[in-house]
Structures are given as structure tokens and as C-alpha cells.
Subunit: 202 residues, 2 copies
Amino acid sequence: MSKKKVVKIRHVKPEIRMLGIDDGAFQPHTKGVVDVIGVVFRGGYWLDGVMRTEVEIDGMDATEKMTSMIMNSPHYEQLRVVVLNGVTLAGFNVIDLKALFDKTGLPAIAVARDKPDFEMIRKALENLANSGKRWKAIENAGRLIEVQTRNAEEPVYVQFKGISESDARRILKETSTRSNIPEALRVAHIIASGLTRSEEKI
Amino acid sequence: MSKKKVVKIRHVKPEIRMLGIDDGAFQPHTKGVVDVIGVVFRGGYWLDGVMRTEVEIDGMDATEKMTSMIMNSPHYEQLRVVVLNGVTLAGFNVIDLKALFDKTGLPAIAVARDKPDFEMIRKALENLANSGKRWKAIENAGRLIEVQTRNAEEPVYVQFKGISESDARRILKETSTRSNIPEALRVAHIIASGLTRSEEKI
């Protein structure tokens, strides 16, 4: 349990251990669970580990499932930061960045390739149970900043907790080695969607 | 269906598309299936795709399952070579490198970190059904060569089909960027064992 408000990252080493998290493909507005894959990278270059869990489509368990996946992993002690593909998994199963940071002690950064339309999200939430709680979790992610990880043409949109804005910016730039998002996140997406596609075929 | 005996790889580009295949953990001598993960790498650096299938423990379906996983993959056309962790999956489910090459048209290279003891393998096979057919598949992999991928202290032991010895050596050296085995194979192992470990916990 972390009591710190911000983890100060003194020096962003090229080999900083980062966990990238993304979900597999699924049919929206259905019931069921979706695979979520966590990928451990040393900086932007080397894959060190993989973990998996699952969350409910449009459910309320994403924060709890991410916390337990991370803290039960053999890589937990080495991890320095968690990077997510936006603040939702499996539809509108919101990850509360603040709760995730408070429980794991790891700074959390949500990265989106498209600028989130919060007004649209808020309206969509109205059709779901616990819409107030979900919206609160989204608000907990804090303000949105634009970061140019690789070039000015493809900025990403970022929310963060437990880390300073300048550290978040540095980490994103250092680890986006192959695309405009951190390599751990790019690879988590490839694995999660590759596994889902193979499953459909079996 | 390939009619060629050997695919000549004119130039081993640093970005040659390689598929690395490895299986997840399992309890030996039990019944059931084991996850098999295929990882597409561009040379030794970038993960491009992931696929999955499953094979029976000590079964006879590894060659067929690898063939169909590869040929049904969206990456098939880009692939130039397949690298396996030895010639068996899930115990003694033998991959026939010759049949794999004949069917997919892709050269196949089996890499082992420890020198295989074929006499011991032959004896172990005697306890299984179809031992003659399994042994024949192992013989089809051809002679064993020693390759120093990174340094003389940690050579690997290699069998290959559909490719010249010198091309096989070059490809292994070029793509073993992080350890003494090709990066696609190192990462396939991490993913397959990471997913299996997570499953046990669920």
C-alpha cells in the first residue's frame, strides 16, 4: 500500500522495467470475459515476461483484477511503472489509476492514440449500472496531456497518477522505440489480439 | 506444397521474418493438451505477431497442428523461416521437420540449448504408441550440428530442413540478439510459460 502521492523517478534508465497492459478482441455489448495481457519490458527493447488475467465485459472488476495480476506476478518487485491503453478495458470496465497506484505503489500512465471524447464517454456510461462510480474512476485519472513521443504528427493523449508530468513524458519518449506508444503496450496489444484471433479459429 | 529440397536464402536481412515456436508448461505423463505459441519477429528485434494452437501431451498431432497454425496465419506470406525449441512439443509429440517444410515451404530449424541424447530419446519412445513413427520423424530432422550463436561457451545444438547449413548458421547468429537462441524463440518461451503460469492461478 503506497502512501506517497508521487513516485519520483530519479533517472529514467533505458532499461526501466515497465508493464504494458491491453485487452483482447471481443463482441461489444455482450456478456462474458475478455483476456487481458500484461507484458514486462526492459525499457523499449527487451521482453522480460508475460502475465494474463481476464475481466468482465462492461464490468466493474478491472482495477481489482489489474492490482492482483500485478502484485501476484514474479516481476512485481522489478516493475517501476504501469502503462495502459486508455483507462478502460473490455468496453467500459474502468481502471481507476488512483486506486491502482495506491494499491500497487506503481505509477500508472494511460496512453490513448486518439483524443478521448469525455462528453461522449459520460453519455455512454449513463446506459450502464454504476455509472456514477465509473465516471468517478475516469475523473480520478486526472487531466489529459498531449505528448509527442516520436514526432509531432502522431501525438498521444495521456493521463497519469503517482508520477510527475515531466517523468511521465520522459518515460513515454524513452520507451516508444518502434511506434508512437511504449513498446510494452504495442506488444501487449499484439499478443492479446493474436491470442484472441487464434481462439476464434479453434 | 513445396517441391524444393532447400530454400536458398540469398541474403539474411537483419529484418528477416522468423516464426519462433514453443510450448507452455505441463505435467508430464498426463493426458490433455498444451498451449503452443508462435511468435513472429523481424530478425532479432521487433515482435510483429503472435499465434496460438494446442497439441496433445505425448500425442501425434504436432506436425499437423504447426502446419495449420502457420498456413492459417495472416503472417504466412511474410514468413521466411521457422525456428523450434527442439523437435518435440508437449513431451514426445514430435514435429517432423521434413513434413513441415514440404507442407509449408518454409525452412525449419530446431534449436536445443542442451545436446540431445538420441539414445535416451529412442529408449523413452519405446514406452509410447507409434514409437517407430516417432523415431522416424526424429531421424527426418537430419544430423545435429553445433552452432556458436553468441559465444563459444554457450553453443546450441541444431537440426534443419529446407535450408543450407551455412544459411541456418547465419540466421541463428543474426537473430540471437539477447541470448544464445533466436529472439523469436526466447520470446515464444516467455509468452507460453507466462500464460500457463497465469492460468494455473486463475
